[in-house]
Symmetry: C2
Subunit: 396 residues, 2 copies
């Protein structure tokens, strides 16, 4: 962390572990008798306890959304671009809460935790949790923190799906829902990519039916491959072109935006920068993430469909969603493209909800929601400021 990083940063943060002894009955019918949630908070809860913002994370996220864990930390939390003093989610104004979801691998109870019933790692015996289960556990956390109503629940991608679930199951407990780069449910293509990722993990000989920790190993190759596939779907074709189309070939690019030069390996090693980039991303991820958690997260995505209890009619699901909605999508996101956000908007309008929607021109694909794209940050900031003005007006 250097001086300029410090200025708009929440600084050094310390995660806290919250233990829950209340049994949690999951969507699958299984019961977690007790569980832990790892939580970070930024900013101060006001006297009215009205300025709390919950951040829901996506597939590979965790509770560490902003700031640094130590002076020597080179990288801040995953949404540091949007959370901090003066940033879109301004920690001078809001009390920001972020947790590692159940089933995660960053400290909350999940497959890598010790199953109290067996004394061994849960591994594949950790029950599959759904978006609904996560939100249920987030409600328990809100109760623990004494937050009756969130000023806003905010999330991108799978995080946005959790926000939608909040508005349907607990409409009385949030004022605003900020849903970014999400979808009302997965497309067949989305599920297909998840299935490839899962198959890649489960067919790794080191997977051992999910009991790899008991075997002293991890399905690293499978997880690496799963992440490589995932990564392609997070980046747009144009972002890849911008990233790898110039100067980045291993051979130097002779022809401007051309990916290749005269020299090719004529072997199966890396010829193009995009190949080594993907390998590197996959490799790094496979060293830091748990394969069973990855499986579980992709299933939570596949299973998400809040319309299912309403005969497939999403607008009926929103019948009691009294909060105000802000949706944002990104032009080159082909994982959850703008059409998917517009579907949600359509159903919200049918349900006569208050909704603001913004489609942002951005090259970065699905990953855009994590990046400091000026128009995105301006719109996000403006909306969060409006929330804060409402708070102040209500208080006075």
């Amino acid at each position: 962390m250097n001086a300029s990083q410090q200025e708009q940063s929440v600084g050094i943060v310390k995660p806290e572990r919250y233990h829950f002894d209340d049994a949690l009955t999951l969507r699958s019918g299984k019961v977690l008798a007790s569980f832990d949630l790892m939580v970070e908070t930024y900013g101060e809860l006001n006297a009215e306890r009205s300025n709390a913002v919950l951040i829901c994370h996506a597939l590979s996220g965790d509770h560490h959304a902003a700031g640094y864990h130590s002076e020597n930390d080179s990288k801040p939390g995953w949404w540091d671009s949007c959370i901090g003093p003066g940033k879109a989610i301004d920690t001078n104004k809001f009390f920001v809460v972020c947790l590692n979801n159940l089933g995660g691998c960053a400290g909350s109870t999940g497959p890598t935790s010790i199953n109290p019933e067996t004394g061994k790692h849960y591994g594949p015996d950790f029950p599959i949790v759904t978006v609904r289960d996560w939100v249920k556990s987030q409600v328990m956390l809100a109760d623990r923190l004494g937050i009756e109503k969130w000023a806003a629940v905010v999330g991108g991608s799978l995080g946005g799906m959790q926000v939608l679930r909040w508005t349907i199951s607990y409409p009385e407990r949030l004022d605003h829902a900020v849903v970014i780069a999400a979808a009302p449910k997965l497309s067949a293509q989305n599920i297909a990519f998840n299935e490839v990722a899962r198959h890649s993990i489960t067919s790794d000989p080191n997977f051992h039916g999910g009991y790899y920790l008991e075997h002293g190993t991890t399905p690293k190759q499978g997880l690496k491959l799963a992440r490589m596939v995932g990564h392609i779907t997070y980046l747009s074709d144009s972002a890849m072109r911008a990233k790898f189309g110039k100067d980045l070939s291993h051979f130097g690019a002779n022809f401007g935006r051309d990916l290749r030069s005269g020299t090719l390996s004529f072997g199966y090693n890396v010829d193009f920068e995009v190949e080594s980039y993907l390998r590197y991303q996959g490799e790094r991820f496979s060293e830091n993430f748990d394969a069973n958690t990855y499986l579980l997260m992709t299933k939570a995505l596949d299973y998400f469909d809040p319309s299912v209890d309403y005969g497939g009619d999403l607008s009926k699901a929103f019948a009691n969603s009294d909060c105000k909605f802000m949706l944002m999508s990104f032009s080159t996101d082909w994982r959850f493209p703008p059409e998917r956000s517009r579907e949600i908007v359509e159903h919200l309008l049918q349900a006569k909800r208050q909704v603001t929607y913004l489609e942002i021109e951005a090259d970065a694909g699905h990953d855009a929601f994590l990046l400091p794209i000026p128009r995105y940050i301006r719109a996000f900031s403006a909306y969060m400021n409006r929330i804060h003005r409402e708070l102040t007006a209500n208080a006075s």
Copy 2:
């Protein structure tokens, strides 16, 4: 083969093996001292030897483009929808030639062949061949068949890239180039998907550095996964929705086009039809295709870039391409979308070439070029008829 199949079919066909003792120097600098090509032909070569059409196959294709190998054959060749009496490439009018490309695994010399120098399978020692090398070997085949000039060279996808190479390297040897669902070169995203496929194969513990046949095994899981990824890119999102969005869920679809019903497995087995479909496709492919060939084919795709010898300017590559061009693309093809075909068209126009271009509305994604889509077949037939009328006019 039933009666209705017989009517517009070339019927029972027999592949022929052509042996070449002339050394072939490849783009990589390596030399194949001798090689075989497996070839099928349909229809009759006319007296003027002017009605020959060459079919170039794509990644997983082979010489068996039309007809059946026996009475009991349940499936015809891979492009039977377009080749046969009365079909787009009418075998009553044309003498159609299709070969298995060098490096293939359907009889032409490739990684599964015995290396005469070692007496063992080539395996990974089979040299990487490029589109240019394939076309070079196709010229040798044309010479052998006594075909000085093709009435047309025709191909879809990677096959279309071979057609482009013909027009650049051997412009005097074809009258028409029919290029379907192709691209002037791969995008970074295309390469990324190929890299995932390759990584999936090479990281399979049964790969043994490519010498799996010597180990009495095959990297089946890796190849299966590679094909699953590939398959997603061949299908459009809308085709997947049409295929799996209705009635096909393993649980029956309660909600019309909804993918899922109330019953979920809450496990890592198949929940959605698209998952079992992909697994099945991958499984079947991995039993019938050679992994080293798959690696080689994806590299040929990655390496394709005919502009490379012309300072990156594709229009200069076409400076001497005197044939007439017909390009077709499909609206939902996201592997090689219409934009990529339009790029080729632009460069052809800059080079002042004669070019016809048709963009076809079709739901099927990249796979559309293999399907009997009415507008496609009508356009394709009309163009091939024009070629035949020219032939007849020239002869009279």
